[in-house]
């Protein structure tokens, strides 16, 4: 009992960290890069720090799931020496040793791996950066401000540059642009704007969704939907408001699918009865990386299915 009370603020901090994570890319800034005549590489990272490498990085520690996905998508997964606990995609990433969590990477383990560069992205705390730099590591923090352009300019281009293969970066971006353009064309053809509810949590512990000021809500809007929680800020919602909102489409995380559809009241929602409660991979729409285009296309497809 006493220990519960003591742990409230600690637990709440962890929770806030987790739920705020998807909002962070909105504050990110683009990065500029320049390519030297010799094989040396220089670029400016998100914190406007100048990063220089004598040659392409042959060994990399990634401190972000989006960066790990990017390195693999560019075809250089074998150069990864370390990743975080959250780097769960592609499946091959599991064979790369973890160096801890996003916010508390194990500095000693990273130093011991002795990579050419450490690449971090969103929710990487400044303290961890300072500690890594003090330990003599070459660290680049890469992220971008806008939805798609941010992933292209802020993440994929600089990562491909660091790996010494900018062409692979351009090819990846070109394929993403095609996917995104197709998805926007589909949205342009929508005849109406279906109402959408995005499930973050439900049942025991309360109802949680992505409010109007979140990255996910922006994505839903771009994908041609109307978020029924657009009027709230933050994440806290209620079952009453969900029933009253009567959404055309419900987007679920994978773990919630079977429980949501069988829990009383939720199972009576019109969208559930009509078969419009669809699983969406949240990681694909919140991580700045190569899956962002596919994630957006899936979202458009889901919204299109109730059009």
């Amino acid at each position: 009992m006493f220990s519960f009370r003591k742990s409230f603020s600690f637990l709440l901090n962890i929770f806030l960290l987790i739920i705020l994570v998807p909002v962070l890319p909105a504050f990110a800034r683009g990065s500029d890069e320049t390519f030297n005549q010799e094989s040396s590489i220089t670029l400016i990272d998100h914190f406007e720090r100048e990063i220089s490498l004598e040659s392409a990085a042959m060994t990399v520690v990634s401190l972000s799931p989006g960066i790990t996905e990017t390195v693999f998508a560019l075809g250089y997964g074998d150069r990864l020496l370390g990743r975080t606990d959250y780097c769960d995609y592609p499946p091959e990433a599991a064979s790369v040793p973890s160096v801890g969590s996003l916010t508390e990477p194990d500095i000693e383990a990273i130093v011991a791996l002795n990579p050419d560069i450490v690449i971090a992205s969103t929710h990487f705390p400044k303290e961890a950066l300072d500690r890594l730099v003090a330990a003599g590591e070459n660290v680049a923090v890469l992220m971008g401000q806008e939805f798609f352009q941010g992933a292209y300019d802020g993440v994929i281009r600089p990562v491909s540059l660091i790996l010494g293969d900018p062409d692979a970066g351009e090819a990846l971006i070109a394929s993403m642009v095609i996917t995104v353009d197709k998805a926007f064309a589909a949205v342009a053809g929508f005849t109406r704007t279906p109402s959408v509810y995005y499930v973050v949590g439900f049942g025991e512990g309360g109802d949680w969704t992505a409010g109007g000021d979140t990255f996910i809500s922006e994505m839903i809007k771009m994908a041609g939907g109307k978020n029924i929680a657009a009027d709230i800020s933050g994440w806290s919602f209620s079952l009453e408001a969900l029933v009253d909102g009567d959404p055309d489409l419900i987007l679920l995380p994978g773990w919630a699918e079977s429980i949501f559809k069988t829990t009383p009241v939720y199972s009576d929602l019109r969208a559930v009865k009509e078969g419009h409660a669809i699983v969406i991979d949240e990681n694909a729409i919140v991580r700045q990386g190569p899956r962002l285009a596919e994630g957006f296309a899936d979202l458009v497809k889901a919204i299109g299915s109730v059009n």
Partner: protein
């Protein structure tokens, strides 16, 4: 008779706050329409309003009353038995056991959990509470019911142990930290009719047993030594009282998470009405707890609609200042234990 007037007042106030709680929520439904729906004349009104009233607000409010009532009666029983004004039923390891059970369920099978009935999380929480409470009794040893302080120490030690295991599980399952945290903070948001039935089946009998044993608690609260002389077998009686307290509290915690302060606060407030009889204290505390939690839950879901705050935060925010005021008042009388 004063007692009878108080009982009638308790019933009337509870009925009034339940009506109030049913009338307000994150979705605004005009009062006249609420009356129409409640009296069965709902033709032409939106189906969603009927669903919100009958399937969400009413069961949730009734669950709040049942949970609040049983938590408060558990507080009376433990404070009387342990002769300690800071006692509450959670000290028996119930909330930590329930939290451990719920955490194991959330971590072990996040996608297999069924939401029907008490649900897998609720069932695991109930079993966890009962197993851990039993362990607390065993760990306290033979003298547990003779010397209550050994039981309290055993409860506190095992609560810390459970919390350590919960943190360990959270460390290795960071993706579920959020769900575990909000479960432990307490919420009535998932309380439907099946949970109301389940709560009624356990908490009403356990409250009746405690009320009927009120005189025994009277005797035990004056000291176990004098109990023999008054024809009460102290250890056996204490065991029965604590077992029913644990059962009722575990049922409440399994449905609503560990909502704090009700068990601690309500018995003290009720004692201000006077009268040391534990039978009356149990009954009055049931009403006090029910009224308080219905209001706390109403606040939890209406302060910032449509968002909700965990009801355990509301009870703690109300409870802490209340206890401080109470402690200052009591200091003038030279004692804290009423």
């Amino acid at each position: 008779m004063i007692e009878r007037k108080l009982s009638i007042a308790g019933i009337l106030v509870l009925a009034a706050v339940i009506l109030l709680a049913v009338s307000y929520g994150s979705v605004h439904i005009p009062l006249s329409n609420i009356i129409s729906i409640l009296s069965g004349h709902s033709e032409g009104l939106p189906e969603t309003w009927k669903l919100i009233l009958w399937r969400i607000r009413i069961p949730r409010t009734l669950a709040a009353a049942l949970v609040g009532g049983v938590l408060a009666t558990g507080g009376v029983a433990t404070q009387g038995l342990f002769r300690n004004p800071l006692s509450e039923p959670y000290l028996l390891g119930i909330s930590s056991g329930a939290a451990l059970g719920a955490t194991i369920a959330i971590v072990a099978a996040p996608s297999l959990l069924s939401g029907a009935g008490l649900g897998v999380i609720g069932t695991a929480a109930f079993l966890g509470a009962m197993i851990v409470t039993f362990t607390v009794f065993i760990a306290a040893g033979k003298g547990a019911f003779k010397l209550p302080s050994t039981l309290l120490l055993s409860g506190i030690a095992i609560a810390f142990l459970c919390q350590a295991v919960i943190w360990l599980l959270m460390t290795y399952n960071r993706d579920q930290v959020e769900r575990i945290t909000f479960w432990t903070l307490g919420s009535l948001s998932s309380a439907g009719w099946s949970k109301v039935l389940w709560l009624s089946a356990i908490t009403i009998p356990s409250t009746i047993v405690l009320a009927s044993m009120g005189r025994v608690i009277d005797v035990l609260s004056t000291g176990y030594d004098s109990a023999h002389g008054l024809g009460v077998r102290p250890q056996r009686s204490a065991a029965v009282i604590l077992a029913f307290t644990a059962l009722g509290t575990a049922a409440a915690v399994a449905v609503a998470g560990s909502i704090g302060f009700i068990g601690l606060m309500v018995p003290h407030a009720v004692r201000l009405l006077g009268g040391p009889s534990h039978r009356k204290l149990v009954i009055r505390s049931w009403f006090g707890g029910a009224i308080l939690l219905v209001l706390a839950d109403l606040a939890a879901r209406t302060v910032n609609p449509p968002g909700e705050i965990p009801v355990g935060i509301v009870t703690a925010l109300l409870g802490a200042p209340f206890l401080l005021i109470l402690a200052r008042r009591k200091k003038g009388e030279g004692r804290l234990d009423g």
